[in-house]
Symmetry: C2
Amino acid sequence: MLLLRSLCLKPSSFTLLNFNSNSRLLHFSTLRPFSSSATVSPPSKAIIYSTHGEPDAVTELVEVPGVEVKENEVCVKMLAAPINPSDINRIQGVYPVRPQPPAVGGYEGVGEVYAVGQAVTTLSPGDWVIPSPPSFGTWQTYIVKDQNVWHKINKGVPMEYAATITVNPLTALLMLEDCVTLSPGDAIVQNGATSMVGQCVIQIAKSRGIRNINIIRDRAGVDEVKESLKDLGADEVFTEKELEVKNVKSLLGDIPEPVLGFNCVGGNAASLVLKFLRHGGTMVTYGGMSKKPVTVSTSSFIFKDLSLRGFWLQKWLGTDKAEESRKMIDRLLGLVQDGKLKYKMEMAPFDDFNTALDKALGKLGSQPKQVIKF
Amino acid sequence: MLLLRSLCLKPSSFTLLNFNSNSRLLHFSTLRPFSSSATVSPPSKAIIYSTHGEPDAVTELVEVPGVEVKENEVCVKMLAAPINPSDINRIQGVYPVRPQPPAVGGYEGVGEVYAVGQAVTTLSPGDWVIPSPPSFGTWQTYIVKDQNVWHKINKGVPMEYAATITVNPLTALLMLEDCVTLSPGDAIVQNGATSMVGQCVIQIAKSRGIRNINIIRDRAGVDEVKESLKDLGADEVFTEKELEVKNVKSLLGDIPEPVLGFNCVGGNAASLVLKFLRHGGTMVTYGGMSKKPVTVSTSSFIFKDLSLRGFWLQKWLGTDKAEESRKMIDRLLGLVQDGKLKYKMEMAPFDDFNTALDKALGKLGSQPKQVIKF
């Protein structure tokens, strides 16, 4: 793997060069020896961090020398990769599963096959591939990994969707399919509905005939936000303030009481999800944007028979789900191609990584998902 | 059913008589006509409430006339019945499933068959029976109900155990068997360990080779309490204060991290159960003695993969479990007979119901479970 092979070089063996205003370009002065007949990947540029810390302080742009593409390996020229919150948490060192620094950032993305090892028959130069299950180190221009890492996808989708299809849309799909058996006409409720997972939940639910109730925080331009979510397929969108009523279920209209709820916020927004749930319902927590815990009354457990659990894609993927997850990704890409799955993103040139990072860190106000274009 | 048949009498049709200091004896002035050949139950005394409210204000002792024992019915002379917290909550009108007043109090108990209808072949006078599943109205001296209501039990156990075997011990057994598959050597953790369910959990766990960690509130005489729980089979007993440490798991010694936790307290005591649980563990809430909610961090759901749910015996019994529950009750009574299941109770003469009620209401300090002896 490029990451491990390259970054075993000691820091003293590369030179720092200026790159943009904030980043530094490291030039490796030591190159590995290759056998003369071997295929060698082009030199690569990568965003690395040598220690955990705030991403804008610890990430650096480095130049990584080419490596031999072994017989079962594939060299992929990366096209695009997003900056997800979990990428940031891994760099900060607060994410439970993370590579040991020095490490290249990123966890998902899409690339084009550049060269294949001699024993590789299922992939050819020009194919579009994604690492599936996703794997660490997608923020670099060329990646060499075993052929099994790569899942060939249809080129008919925009690269920014291919780059982002795993972490968020797959989470939405799995939460809708793996937690509770839903039938058309059933209803779900979620908070954080404007998040990327939230947008996907709305659209996947709609594509399956599942009614969906959405909770958003009170904000400026709330009418536009509601309209945009309804355009995606939201049945109802409420702000937290609008739900300060005695019985939220009185607002359901013809929507049945939801059997399943998704919580990525915590605090009051989680309590609102619980209030909407029907007897015997389940709330799945997959995020905690408010940094507040989930609070549940005793009677919710005993008399309302609610169940609470979590969902973590990385754990799900770790349970031998590679084949299943690839089929689900193909389904999701099919929805994208059919115009049934879309979400807001902003492409950022690799050279302007620092601005994209600042946007992803929330330093420039509310911004769409940042996707690096290599 | 005696309850419904008798209490359809209008209040104007009976006379109040003094009974003890606080209760009143109602004498029904209207008697139903019976056919001359029918078996008729003896007149009964019952604790009834005509309206929801505080039990010491709304309960009354009444005299209920005898009723015909129809061909499939059995008349049972009640021997003993406990005052459970859920009985109190039903009288208060705050329990979700409760009879409509006027109603006789009580939900479980034991009695001796007094007379049987002509078509009854499986029960005979002298048999000991319990209503199973339990049913409303056990606080009366004679009960007439369909034969299917009654489960014949072995007379080899003390009547106070037979009277109390369903609500609390069956909850403990079901929580240990129905929530997570436990194997000998596995561990569980619970708060409220001195409760009747808590005491049963310890002993049933011990009988199955399941290690158990117990959390109790800080109180006077804590050493004696710990000793008494260890005598029952507790592996470890901690007060909440003793668990104010950075990592509660450092206190586990050779006990494995528990896979299952029981919460009947809420608040901090519930958080302590969650702290002990291993990755992927489950906490079952069956009570909320502190009246504080359960608070859970986002990471507990996502990264620790904890699941939270509730247990309510009345719901479980409502799902066609009569046969299964009777087998489990026989198992529990077997444990009692073998000296492997015991818990603290106090027998109270029916004539002194008011004192027993005051004790059950906590008006006289911490008291053992009150069991009315008829």
